[in-house]
């Protein structure tokens, strides 16, 4: 894996990106602000599931209204994050925080998929409940915690790089 990282960051364009004075920080700035783009929509559903906000709206309405846009946010984050990783692949790979971040992203994704394909199936019964049943509430609360962890680990990756 480390050989792959070395190869990746030694490419012409990744080397140029790493050594660029403005491009790297600009992409990092977009990556940071892209957080709003993904967390805005994601938190709306999480808050609804946790029973914190949108309590008078059906869960299905909140999910359908916001979740599709989180895909656009996720795409932006993957593209900018991928570019940053390619430029600093070896240091990322050697960073414990980076690994924590990747694991948390996978766990957050798994939590979202589990909700989508399993828990959400039964939502006909509790769609309009102000506070959804424990399994759904747990999905929302876990998502908030995992995403907070992603942000924390991401910030500390940048710190220790």
């Amino acid at each position: 894996m480390i050989e792959f990282c070395q190869w990746l960051q030694d490419l012409g364009w990744t080397t140029a990106l790493r050594e660029s004075q403005f491009l790297f920080p600009i992409i990092e700035g977009i990556h940071l602000l892209g957080l709003a783009f993904i967390l805005g929509p994601v938190l709306m559903l999480d808050f609804r599931l946790a029973g914190i906000a949108w309590r008078d709206q059906p869960v299905s309405r909140i999910a359908n209204a916001f979740v599709p846009y989180s895909v656009a946010g996720a795409t932006l984050m993957f593209v900018t994050g991928g570019l940053l990783f390619a430029a600093e692949a070896v240091r990322c790979w050697n960073s414990a925080w980076f690994k924590v971040k990747v694991v948390l992203l996978i766990v957050a994704g798994a939590n979202a998929l589990y909700f989508h394909f399993k828990t959400q199936r039964g939502w006909g019964a509790w769609d309009t409940d102000a506070v959804p049943p424990p399994a759904a509430r747990m999905a929302g609360i876990l998502s908030i915690i995992f995403w907070a962890g992603v942000v924390l680990a991401g910030r500390w990756t940048a710190y220790t790089l």
């Binding site: 600009i26 700035g29 709003a36 805005g40 906000a53 209204a65 916001f66 910030r155």
Partner: protein
């Protein structure tokens, strides 16, 4: 006017000394700063997109505002408190930083715009006549604050 003594005063506060002298305090405070920023910017961003014509399942901009305003307000409080804490730990360093003052100026402009203009305009059900201008101004100001903030760590 020489502002340096004000920066020095912040450097000398107890909270400034505590954060500067403690390895974990700065990154931990900054984590809260950034998480609150993500929530605040995320909420404002949704209202901006709605004003620009993105249809969130028929949920109006005013309904979004009513639901999200308290999160925006609380996040803003957290951002300002943690921001002052971070600043106090390295105020004289911030004085030397070329990105710090542009960020503060942009932040003040963004706050004045948000609480003086934006909030009043999006509160009502009727779509404001200058909806697109409001949304773009909001996006550009907050994006500018974020970029200038990130730049502090780079220059």
């Amino acid at each position: 006017m020489n502002m340096y003594p004000i920066y020095q005063w912040f450097d000398d506060t107890a909270i400034g000394h505590f954060i500067a002298g403690n390895t974990w305090a700065f990154p931990l405070t900054e984590t809260f700063h950034i998480m609150a920023l993500a929530v605040m910017f995320g909420c404002i961003f949704l209202i901006d997109l709605r004003l620009l014509g993105v249809n969130f399942g028929g949920i109006s901009h005013a309904r979004l505002f009513r639901e999200l305003n308290r999160y925006i307000n609380w996040s803003t409080v957290i951002i300002i408190v943690t921001g002052i804490m971070l600043f106090s730990s390295e105020a004289t360093k911030a004085y030397e930083n070329d990105a710090f003052r542009p960020k503060v100026v942009l932040l003040i402009l963004a706050l004045i715009f948000h609480y003086g203009v934006f909030n009043k305009a999006v509160r009502n059900e009727a779509v404001p006549s200058n909806a697109k201008l409001l949304a773009w101004t909001s996006l550009i100001l907050w994006f500018g604050v974020g970029m200038a903030g990130r730049a502090i760590g780079f220059v």
